[in-house]
Symmetry: C2
Subunit: 279 residues, 2 copies
């Protein structure tokens, strides 16, 4: 089995590790525009061999794990050269733009649009870990546009990763993920910014990190190169979610200003429901 | 050694467990206005015996671990009845109001104002865990107002807990903690609210929780009874931090609206500094 992984960061690298455990006779070819990352991926044993896109006509499985703006450029090129047997998966955090860009491609049915809901705040080949996807959800979009045989390859792959599959329309995915993932990242980045600006003496932040700050600001360690194109592609939904978030924060501030602590108590009490939802 | 713990929630209960490990001949007396919690603390083995405030004249150590509004009522009562040998510690998340309320008390030098920077999002006696304070920071305020012999008892206690001590003025503590702890809680509560309001179908939240939402929203599980009085007591500093946070979020939204993705990249890149700060 020949697997090509394009983009050897956290997701691509972690998939490479799991794939090596899953299949006995697998050969993993790596592609990355960053020569250092590619070399690192080889040294870390994530991939067996460096490769280029021209070589993938021979692939059984191609995984596109690059920033979402680069994915829009590469996917049509990849579909141009794939053979009949090849399944191409992307794993990006936006789904509507990539589904639109290949909607009319003659090899559209070689492609499956996915978004594994798994990750950490770290990036690059060094961030790759085994079992990152174990028990997690993978969102699958436009399943009906992928050829039946390739669907089977994909389902087999997800089953081996032990992932739960959920089907969504691309636009619906982008709307939900704006709230649950993209907004979380912005709230975390801006919280980090607010505290850094205030705390000129960094020692104070460090010592006070145990107080809940560390977990709320964890996502502010994420890669700007990965997140900027996501924000760009999901602009409309993200602005809407940001508006609602800012409005809720402003209401909370007004309640504080009005000394309405009963209402503040109730705001928190109602939101405690998150305990049951996330259980 | 006789230890009285008033308030047998997460902090009081966890201290009770550590104290039992620390001292051989210790007797822990528990006080809690919630009769169920008191009974639970006894059943869980957090305390050896139920007690009332009138009994504490005999105590070596009194730990006041109640909501910060209740602490303002109880601390003067406690100092009224302590004997010469008794050290009284509070552990609240605001320090200026409690220091002010006992500033002129005749037994002020029996008291030490502290804030251990440790916790989880859970509450009640069931939330108590051992080693919660291991390696964490404890903020100590107005050390010079505590009698020297009681300072020694306190330092011995913190050393046994393996905590690092930092000294701060009460007002300075309340200003810093507004940013690093209180604001984090509000950002998390309002993020939870925004997403719950949007996602009527709770299944969507659940499945997408792996995407970073779970850690940013963790603090929204916290107890409203504990947090409402903290927000009330630190109102001025919290409103200021909220204003700065809302302003940063609004700027981010404006950059999105203006398609200024270079500036958005830089906002994130600059905030990535949090990686080094929290290391």
């Amino acid at each position: 089995m020949k697997v090509y992984i394009i983009g050897l960061g956290l997701i691509g690298g972690s998939l490479a590790l799991d794939i090596q455990k899953m299949y006995n006779d697998v050969m993993i070819f790596g592609i990355d525009s960053n020569a250092n990352h590619l070399e690192e991926a080889l040294e870390l044993g994530l991939i067996h061999q460096k490769a280029t896109i021209s070589g993938i006509e021979d692939a059984d499985l191609v995984i596109l794990a690059v920033p979402v703006d680069v994915a829009l450029l590469l996917l049509p090129e990849i579909l141009d050269v794939v053979s009949e047997k090849t399944l191409v998966l992307d794993v990006g955090s936006t789904k509507n733009p990539i589904c639109e860009i290949v909607a009319k491609h003659r090899n559209r049915n070689n492609f499956l649009a996915t978004h594994p809901i798994a990750g950490t705040e770290f990036s690059g080949p060094q961030a790759a870990v085994t079992n990152l996807f174990e028990g997690k959800t993978i969102i699958v979009c436009e399943i009906e546009k992928t050829a039946y045989k390739k669907q089977e390859v994909a389902f087999d792959f997800f089953r081996n990763l032990n992932m739960r599959i959920r089907y969504m329309e691309p636009k619906s995915h982008d709307k939900h993920i704006a709230y649950v993932s993209h907004l979380s990242h912005i709230s975390s980045f801006m919280l980090g910014k607010t505290v850094i600006e205030k705390e000129k003496d960094e020692k104070d932040i460090f010592d006070m990190a145990g107080s809940g700050f560390e977990s709320t600001v964890r996502l502010a360690k994420s890669s700007p190169s990965m997140w900027t194109p996501i924000f760009k592609q999901n602009k409309k939904q993200i602005i809407k979610s940001l508006e609602e978030y800012i409005s809720n924060l402003s209401t909370f501030k007004s309640l504080m200003e009005a000394d309405d602590y009963e209402a503040i108590f109730n705001e928190m009490k109602n939101t405690n429901r998150i305990k049951e939802i996330l259980k």
